[in-house]
């Protein structure tokens, strides 16, 4: 997962793992899973820079660009360290890439991007898009996104993705040339439409429900830490509240923790002042005060690490969305199949009616023909012929859609299984590192208070 700044050694049972080591473990896992791309190439988002320029409406704007570095794997292991290939991309280009992937591989749970704007922020300061902490965390999130795509069995072989990493100029045009935009628009329209499937696939319905619940629970976790407002009951509310402003009047847990630590710093000052009027007690008080100052200062590191944990949760919050999108797409596919089948059935019925002369179902035609007289045999022939063609086409369509549906179900389910495994692994790792962080925080607390206690006992 993303790296953290802390150098603390965490002890898990018998293994000692530094944060950078666990980051390497994750990367190695991705490589071992063996996409050909990651076996050949090392990918990283090395830097971020601010740029200014004119935008589409010819106005000055400031934006951030990120440096993507790629390096052949062999070169590094040979001991030579050649300069990596690199190019700059901005966030909107990442978005474009992702949209392309969403449309082109609708059966894949596509890895999410880090959030566009700073929402769900725990630490007071990283709330601004231009804030260096926010930019840094975004850089890490973008690198993570690229690694996820590069380690995906299907997505990693995509040419557009490859050229995103390697071709600085003209990439945008290449993407548009694929014509995915048209597909994107229709997909969006269809997904937003409300429709009901007659025979919903139980597995996909369950998955969608799981996605809803996961999204709800993670946004609760993030909001209790960040906002602490009313609980979220449905997924729609969760999605909505994600877009709400993070600055709620209710105080946050992280704020409270911050307060607890920082107020102890006031002890430092008052002990120092008090020690001035004391004889024997003075030294003990004074040095205890210093430890209280150290205690107060330690909260900044703690909150930074908690922010890191929040980022890990956030990734899966957005992943839940991607999962739901796949389920929704499946529904759409199924719906279209059902529509085609329904249409075919009704056409076949019409043919039968026309052929036998019986009106089984109520139709306007039937009524008008009753009222205004029967059609001529020639007219009926023409109609029959037309119906026959339509039925043929309809059968073709149903066959096509059936195949589509089956294909989709097959590939989607493979990817969903892959996603489940990945999710279980990653979230477990996240919980472990959260526990390690708590342990480290407790140990530091014990140490500081033991130091203070020693000073007090010498008063």
């Amino acid at each position: 997962m993303a790296d953290s700044g802390s150098e603390d050694i965490a002890v898990i049972g018998n293994t000692d793992l530094t944060p950078s080591e666990s980051e390497n473990n994750l990367k190695n896992t991705m490589v071992e899973k063996g996409t050909s791309l990651l076996k050949r190439m090392e990918i990283s988002v090395a830097e971020a820079e601010k740029r200014t320029g004119k935008n589409a409406v010819n106005m000055q704007e400031t934006y951030t660009v990120y440096l993507i570095e790629t390096r052949p794997v062999d070169a590094a292991s040979e001991g030579t360290n050649p300069v990596p290939d690199s190019l700059w991309r901005r966030y909107s280009e990442f978005e474009l890439l992702r949209n392309y992937l969403l449309v082109t591989y609708p059966f894949v749970v596509v890895p999410p991007l880090p959030e566009k704007r700073a929402e769900f922020v725990w630490h007071k300061l990283s709330a601004d898009n231009m804030d260096p902490d926010f930019v840094e965390r975004r850089r890490v999130g973008l690198e993570n996104f690229l690694l996820r795509v590069a380690s995906h069995p299907v997505l990693s072989s995509d040419k557009i993705f490859y050229s995103f990493l390697t071709e600085e100029n003209g990439w945008k045009e290449t993407v548009f040339e694929t014509g995915f935009q048209a597909k994107a628009d229709s997909r969006l329209k269809a997904l937003n439409a409300t429709f009901r499937v007659k025979n919903p696939d139980k597995r996909f319905a369950e998955m969608k429900h799981y996605g809803d619940e996961l999204q709800s629970v993670i946004s609760q976790l993030l909001r209790v830490r960040a906002v602490g407002e009313n609980k979220v009951s449905t997924a729609e509310n969760a999605a909505q509240s994600i877009r709400k402003s993070p600055f709620s009047p209710t105080k946050r847990a992280a704020d409270r923790l911050y307060g607890v630590y920082k107020v102890h710093g006031n002890y430092g000052r008052v002990f120092s002042e008090w020690s001035a009027i004391e004889k024997e007690m003075g030294d003990g008080l004074q040095s205890a005060g210093h430890h209280m100052d150290a205690y107060a200062a330690s909260v900044d590191d703690i909150l930074e690490e908690e922010e890191h944990y929040a980022d890990q949760l956030k990734e899966y919050l957005f992943y839940a969305d991607a999962l739901r999108a796949v389920c929704r797409k499946h529904e759409l596919t199924q719906y279209e199949l059902e529509m085609a089948a329904q249409d075919l059935t009704s056409k076949k019925q019409q043919r039968e009616e026309l052929a036998t002369g019986t009106v089984r179902t109520f139709s306007l035609k039937g009524m008008t023909s009753k009222l205004f007289g029967q059609e001529t045999p020639e007219q009926r022939e023409a109609k029959l012929k037309m119906l026959e063609t339509q039925i043929e086409e309809g059968e073709e369509l149903v066959k096509e859609r059936n195949e589509e549906c089956d294909e989709f179900v097959k590939s989607a389910w493979v990817d969903i299984e892959r996603f489940k495994e990945q999710k279980d692994h990653d979230l477990r790792e996240a919980l472990i590192s959260y526990a390690i962080m708590q342990i480290s925080m407790c140990k530091k607390g014990i140490q500081v208070w033991n130091n203070a206690k020693e000073c007090f006992s010498k008063m």
């Binding site: 049972g13 996961l214 919980l431 526990a435 014990i446 208070w449 033991n450 206690k453 008063m459």
Partner: protein, 432 residues
């Protein structure tokens, strides 16, 4: 027996202040005595340490500091082993037609001949403690009388009969009696004796032998201007002013911390259960998530305990000292008044020759009073400083201990979670 004639104290009246060798004034030298002398048999359960720099044994912090609270080892500097032990415990609620109130059991063990029996057990209510303190102030105005916990509590804001309130009060009353019992002069006061031993405190009667001229000084209100306060008493006043300020600041800081911790606790209580509901729809992650929920819950309880302890043990002691300082300032004022009276009368004698001037013996008596007061006060001041040092060492060490215990509890919870979190991983790794 005359009121308050101590075995070895200085209120002699005739000597000048330089000649009075006050046993309590030898602070530093007394501190270097060997520790063995001071472990009287009655205390016996644990090794206690001295304020001579030997730190308190805090290997089992909770029990040793609470034990210290109960036994209140004091530096009995006059070389005698302790012969008077007092404890306050066993609060009970009494309901009568007129009122409801709490009484406490006061147990005394003593070898002093001033007491008829070696042991006493009586029940007293707050009113009785208040009576005692007033009597002590009246009869020993030159001494620092320890404070009582606050008398009035706002009805509706504080529950006078809640366990926490009663326990906090009991501790303060216990401390009060122990401080009096440790005082070389106050402990021999007949009102104190009556308080400890009489079946019924007949408070209205009071005891016959009260205010002998040589013993007590009538409190003169105003009318006399002080010429020059001796430096040491001015220094005491200054110290008390600054110290009060600092205590007030510490009180505010502690309150703020408690508030922030309580609000953090509220958030934690919302946070933990979310992991539980998450685990309900996960398969492989079910146990880890439940584990995290349990951990957070344990940490919440630990935090709750810490906050409660700080409220119940830390803040009351701070406030007690503020009250102590108030009464000390009053005693300093009284001393100033006595000195002012003396100076004025002295002046009158020196400069005037007519009948209205006070008789020289009257002036001499004033001088005596001043000297006694100064001696008593100085001795009590030194004793107070030592007690203060011990009390605050104990208080702050206790605060550190509580925080350590909190973190230790949390640490244990999270550490026990790690194997649970890693468990399936290793199993899966092996099957792969």
């Amino acid at each position: 027996m005359s009121a308050g004639t101590p075995r070895s104290l200085a209120s002699s009246g005739q000597k000048s202040i330089q000649d009075i060798c006050h046993p309590l004034s030898a602070e530093e030298s007394a501190l270097s005595r060997s520790p063995d002398v001071l472990n009287p048999s009655g205390a016996g359960e644990k090794d206690l340490s001295l304020p001579n720099g030997t730190p308190v044994d805090t290997s089992s912090p909770a029990s040793s500091s609470s034990l210290l609270n109960r036994l209140q080892l004091d530096d009995d500097l006059d070389g005698e082993t302790r012969d008077l032990f007092v404890t306050v415990d066993d609060p009970k609620k009494h309901v009568s037609t007129m009122e409801t109130y709490i009484t406490y059991r006061v147990c005394t063990k003593t070898t002093r001949t001033e007491f008829d029996l070696p042991e006493y057990s009586v029940r007293r209510r707050y009113q009785d403690f208040d009576w005692l303190r007033n009597k002590l102030e009246e009869s020993q105005p030159t001494h620092l009388i320890p404070p009582l916990p606050e008398k009035f509590v706002m009805k509706g804001v504080v529950d006078r009969f809640s366990e926490e309130f009663v326990e906090t009060r009991r501790k303060a009353l216990d401390k009060f009696l122990k401080r009096v019992a440790d005082h070389p002069v106050l402990s021999f006061n007949e009102h104190f004796n009556a308080f400890l031993s009489a079946k019924d405190l007949n408070k209205r009667q009071g005891l016959a032998l009260l205010t002998k001229m040589g013993e007590s000084v009538k409190y003169v209100t105003g009318g006399y201007k002080l010429r020059g306060r001796p430096i040491e008493f001015a220094a005491m006043g200054d110290y008390l002013d600054v110290f009060t300020q600092k205590l007030g600041t510490i009180d505010r800081i502690a309150q703020r911390i408690i508030k922030e911790q309580s609000e953090f606790l509220m958030e934690l209580r919302e946070y933990g259960p979310v992991y539980s509901s998450w685990s309900s729809f996960e398969e492989e992650l079910h146990d880890p998530l439940e584990g995290v929920a349990g951990c957070v819950s344990n940490c919440s309880s630990a935090l709750d305990e810490l906050t409660e302890d700080m409220s119940e043990d830390f803040l009351p002691v701070l406030r007690e000292y503020v009250l102590y300082i108030e009464s000390m300032k009053n005693v300093l004022k009284k001393r100033d008044q006595v000195q002012a009276e003396y100076e004025t009368k002295l002046e009158a004698v020196v400069f005037r020759e007519d009948k209205k001037t006070p008789v020289p013996t009257d002036v001499e008596k004033c001088q005596d009073r001043v000297e006694c007061f100064n001696a008593d006060l100085k001795a009590d001041w030194d004793r107070w400083q030592n007690n203060k040092r011990q009390d605050f060492r104990q208080l702050l060490t206790g605060m550190a201990d509580k925080n350590i215990q909190y973190y230790e509890k949390c640490l244990a919870a999270w550490e026990s979670l790690i194997p649970l979190l890693q468990d399936k991983q290793e199993a899966r790794g092996e099957t792969n």
